[in-house]
Amino acid sequence: MTVTNAQAAAETSRKFPQVDRFIITLSMSGMALLACLIWLETAPFLVGLFFVGAMLGVALYHGAFGFTAGWRNWVVTGNGTGLRAQLFLLGLACLLIVPAVSGGIEGTAGTIAPVGVSLVVGSFIFGFGMQLGGGCGSGTLFTVGAGNLRMTLTLIFFIIGSVVGTVHLPLWLDAPGTDPIQLASTVGPWGAIALQWVVLAGLWWLVGRREKRMTGQTRHGLLERDRTVSVARTLLTGRWPFLWAAVVLAVGNLLTVILSGTPWGVTFAFALWGAKIAQFIGIDMTQVEFWTWDYGALALQDSLLVNVPSVMNFGLLLGAMLAAGLANKYNAGSKNPLVLRSVLAAVIGGSLMGYGARLGFGCNIGAMFSGIASASVHGWIWFASAFVGSLLGIKARPFFGLSH
């Protein structure tokens, strides 16, 4: 190829990004089919939630917005960009959601949960598991949507761990604990936002201080992107700056509140899918106390298409698939062959995350993101406890042949 031809080819590729048409067609057909089914069989607000889920899937994939790697990068290398993006996300979400669930929008309620042994132990286990599994609740889901084989294994064991967690949760709830503590009911919605922003600002400073000590500089990098490609192309094929993804995730959570009445959650659906499979193979889950509580009982007996977390997860999977097709990277995460120790880490990590998510009342999304966005103290305790578990998980990664 002559230089002129190479230049012409490079120019063409700049103009027309190579996309995976098969994956794009399949994901969009899947979305259209499922959206029609939900529209015909359920209600329009669930179609809306399905597309919100798809939008979140695109943002998570194009933004590579993983809580797990963000924590690990800061701990191991001192790079705090990912963690800082998470703090920005929490600050923006609490500004949007606290007023909404504190009487701003009628018929809505924040994400709350009891504060006690179950929460601390569950989130600690989850934090440990997510470093071995390779992703948190949303991270597992969007990478599965993008065709990652190892993360599919993590998801399968996440589901199994969740089912075991539903069996054990009532026992854990008998351990010491108090009723949910909502800051907004003590200091008012704006007081709660101000208080949380002070804590977030303190964490922001701490992240930067450690980053400077370890790397000699503080790289903000929230708007960092490849400047050689246009904004429109970056929007379509990625990779998005963290800030774009954070804004979409915060707005997506607010839309979830508006449409469903409560903030975004991911992992209840995993427990539900597992319980339905258990029922199918002859295990009577209706005898388990967890599935006798109103929400669990209704969800278990009715269709997945009327269960909000399930519908949103379906959307998220297809959204991530679409984004991977647009980036022409579907299944790119599976290019390295699976080795036994890595598989073992996925099995242990997935199981621990599933179990921990039930005891800790959710994952990084349902408990931490939505909890803090609702000014519930349990979200902060989840964050702290999962972070400590994550520190141990990071130390354990080399035993499973996983890099830092």
Binding site: T42, D179, L305
Partner: protein, 68 residues
């Protein structure tokens, strides 16, 4: 085009098979649900709002004070 096909990191039929299996499972679950029965006029009722906004946790767990 041929090179693109060689470089692809998955097999199309596998992706199609997995997606079809998931769709089949979701449909099978839906067809035996009260919502489907309700839509077909066979009685029962749909549960479009499942979440209990008064519960103490997103999963519907009761408050520790209630359990005591």
């Amino acid at each position: 085009m041929e090179r693109m096909y060689r470089d692809r990191m998955y097999k199309r039929w596998r992706v199609l098979a997995i997606m079809s299996a998931i769709l089949f499972a979701v449909m099978a679950d839906h067809l035996r649900s009260p919502t489907f029965a309700f839509n077909m006029g066979q009685g029962g009722q749909t549960t479009l709002m499942q979440r209990d906004l008064g519960a103490c946790a997103p999963c519907g767990a009761p408050c520790p004070s209630e359990r005591r």
